[in-house]
């Protein structure tokens, strides 16, 4: 369009100069420009009638894994001399092989297929459509159309497989699982001895106890194992996750994904609360569908800030059943201490997985004695905070992000913590 206007101005200036000065050579000079303009406008492109489809080799992938995008274009209208097709990608995606833009000639009824490969970071990426610019060979007359061809690509966070995450909430659900329920019944772990009931297996009779009482028999009781409600709270506040230009949030997301996967694999009912710019609640559920829902929520998760949710005071506790297990994934801020104690006082069994922001920051900083001193001071402050949290009866895992998450969590949660190994029998 700019070219048409430019040439039009030149032609008219030459013509007007010729007419004002009454000199024919100016008109002769205007002739080639006018011919060029005329040819451009004479071959004005026809109406755009394109049928465009886009297919993705995968719609859910891991970060930085290549996805092949195939675009198929069918021309249902007249022949198109120059068709510039540009697929509208999410800006976060990186193109590797091929191009999302192509300039082609499309004859009437002709079709075209081309491919390109993209990859990107965790996120929910949408394809909005294809921008089509049709022109004739000289590029003077153009038609621009946007053809909506929607598509989506979920780049899910990596899920690290954890061997076992030991939790022991006070409240369990009715279905059998792997969490000791503090109730006698069918199970594996010894729970206690009770009077023999008719129907008890002979194998369960405790002969030592029975031998001490001439008239009565006693049976061994085992601890029931059941599933539980687990609420994962992912801290997405900028104040705790973003340090200058670097964000530790990806580590928090990875830890959340690994934990949720482990809890779901053990049959638990898992819900997720994103706490950042706003609250995003994924209602609790079981199984593969819930796993997919949670991973898609995590794929969309971003950090944000809001005055209301600047501290953890507004965690909506009514979403989580009392006595259930809460897992807070957060780098932690000193102001969060009171809220964690309050959660504990409400009888939640709270676990904190805290990616260590100090080790994260140190990765990007040079070796410097002054920095090392600062690191030690900060480390002491953080150790003090974590100790205070632990003293409130909260299980804390400090994750040095330079170490793999599965190793850290296995070392910390692979077996029950000492404080939970001997819990008195529940009052029936």
């Amino acid at each position: 369009m700019r070219r048409t206007i430019f040439l039009g101005i030149l032609v008219y200036l030459l013509l007007l100069t010729g007419l004002v000065l009454v000199r024919s050579p100016f008109i002769a000079l205007a002739l080639p420009l006018a011919v060029y303009l005329f040819l451009g406008l004479a071959f004005h492109p026809p109406e755009v009638k394109l049928e465009i489809t886009r297919t993705l080799s995968q719609e859910r992938v891991a970060p930085e894994r290549p996805v092949t995008v195939t675009i198929t274009v069918r021309n249902l209208g007249g022949a198109l001399e120059h068709a510039f097709l540009e697929d509208q990608l999410s800006p976060a995606l990186t193109v590797h092989d091929g191009k999302p833009r192509r300039l082609v000639t499309l004859p009437q009824g002709g079709s075209l297929t081309w491919e390109y490969t993209v990859s990107g970071p965790r996120g929910y990426h949408t394809f909005r459509g294809v921008n089509v610019t049709i022109s004739e060979h000289l590029g003077l007359s153009q038609r621009v159309e946007h053809i909506p061809v929607t598509g989506q690509l979920f780049i899910l966070p990596p899920v690290v497989r954890l061997r076992r995450v030991y939790i022991r909430p006070r409240q369990t659900l009715v279905y059998s699982g792997t969490i000791p329920a503090r109730r006698g019944g069918p199970g594996v772990e010894f729970f206690g001895v009770r009077a023999y009931h008719p129907g008890d297996s002979r194998h369960r009779i405790n002969w030592h106890a029975s031998a001490r009482h001439m008239d009565e028999l006693y049976s061994n009781e085992f601890e029931q194992e059941r599933v539980a409600d687990v609420g994962v709270i992912l801290d997405a506040r900028i104040r705790t996750n973003v340090y200058k230009n670097r964000s530790i949030f990806e580590h928090s997301v990875m830890a959340s994904a690994a934990l949720m996967d482990a809890f779901l694999n053990e049959g638990n009912r898992v819900g997720l609360l994103l706490y950042g710019q706003y609250l995003q609640w994924t209602i609790p559920g079981y199984g593969k569908m819930q796993r997919e829902r949670l991973l898609q929520t995590l794929a969309r998760a971003t950090t944000g800030d809001s005055l209301v949710f600047s501290d953890l005071a507004y965690i909506p506790t009514q979403l989580f059943p009392t006595n259930s297990q809460l897992v807070l994934v957060s780098p932690l801020h000193p102001d969060d201490m009171d809220i964690l104690v309050r959660l504990r006082l409400r009888e939640y069994h709270v676990m904190v997985i805290s990616p260590d922001p100090i080790s994260f920051e140190m990765q990007a900083l040079p070796d410097d004695p002054a920095l090392d001193m600062a690191r030690r001071v900060l480390q002491m402050e953080r150790d003090l905070l974590l100790t205070q949290v632990q003293r409130a009866g909260i299980q804390v895992v400090n994750w040095d992000v330079t170490r793999p998450i599965d190793q850290v969590l296995y070392a910390a949660l692979g077996r029950p913590p000492v404080s939970l190994r001997f819990i008195p029998r529940r009052q029936m």
């Binding site: 007419l19 420009l33 011919v35 071959f43 153009q142």
Partner: protein
């Protein structure tokens, strides 16, 4: 093929306009126009597509002043036509990166055919106008003014269409 033709058209436009000025002793202007041609070549190499527009304006102005100075019209006319071809090919050259290898030859051929059609008509009309240099009478001026007004109104109407406002 496009690059070769582009370079040839830039050189020919610079040489032809320079020749027109140099023939009547305007050496410094000729050297200045030659410098524009050299910068245009550098711009093609460096990918400065915007310079083609500057060069086109400069060569158009050179042609206008050349007519005012009564320089030989044939050099100015052919120089302007070459400049227009170079301007067109600069734009096409920029689009080549979006064309796949298998389509390249066909699209280049189609573009050159259209450009050839333009050159044929333009040179024919130009030759006619130079050979039959008619004096502009009042009737001709009145006809051309009416043609200009009609053309302008058509162009404005065309530009105001929503699909052409991109």
């Amino acid at each position: 093929m496009t690059v070769v033709l582009l370079i040839l058209s830039i050189i020919s436009s610079a040489v032809l306009v320079c020749w027109g000025y140099a023939a009547v002793g305007w050496i410094w202007v000729a050297l200045g126009l030659a410098l524009v041609g050299i910068v245009w070549l550098v711009a093609v190499w460096r990918g400065w597509a915007w310079f083609a527009w500057v060069a086109m304006v400069l060569y158009s102005l050179a042609a206008v002043f050349g007519v005012l100075l009564d320089l030989p019209l044939v050099w100015l006319f052919t120089g302007l036509v070459s400049g227009l071809v170079a301007w067109d090919l600069t734009n096409f050259h920029r689009q080549l990166r979006f064309i796949e290898k298998e389509d390249l030859a066909q699209m280049e051929r189609a573009h050159m055919e259209r450009l050839g059609l333009f050159l044929g008509i333009a040179l024919l009309l130009g030759a006619g106008s130079i050979v039959l240099q008619a004096r502009l009478t009042f009737e001709w001026v009145a006809f051309l003014v009416l043609l200009c007004v009609w053309g302008l109104s058509r162009m404005v109407k065309w530009l105001r269409k929503p699909q052409n406002n991109n």
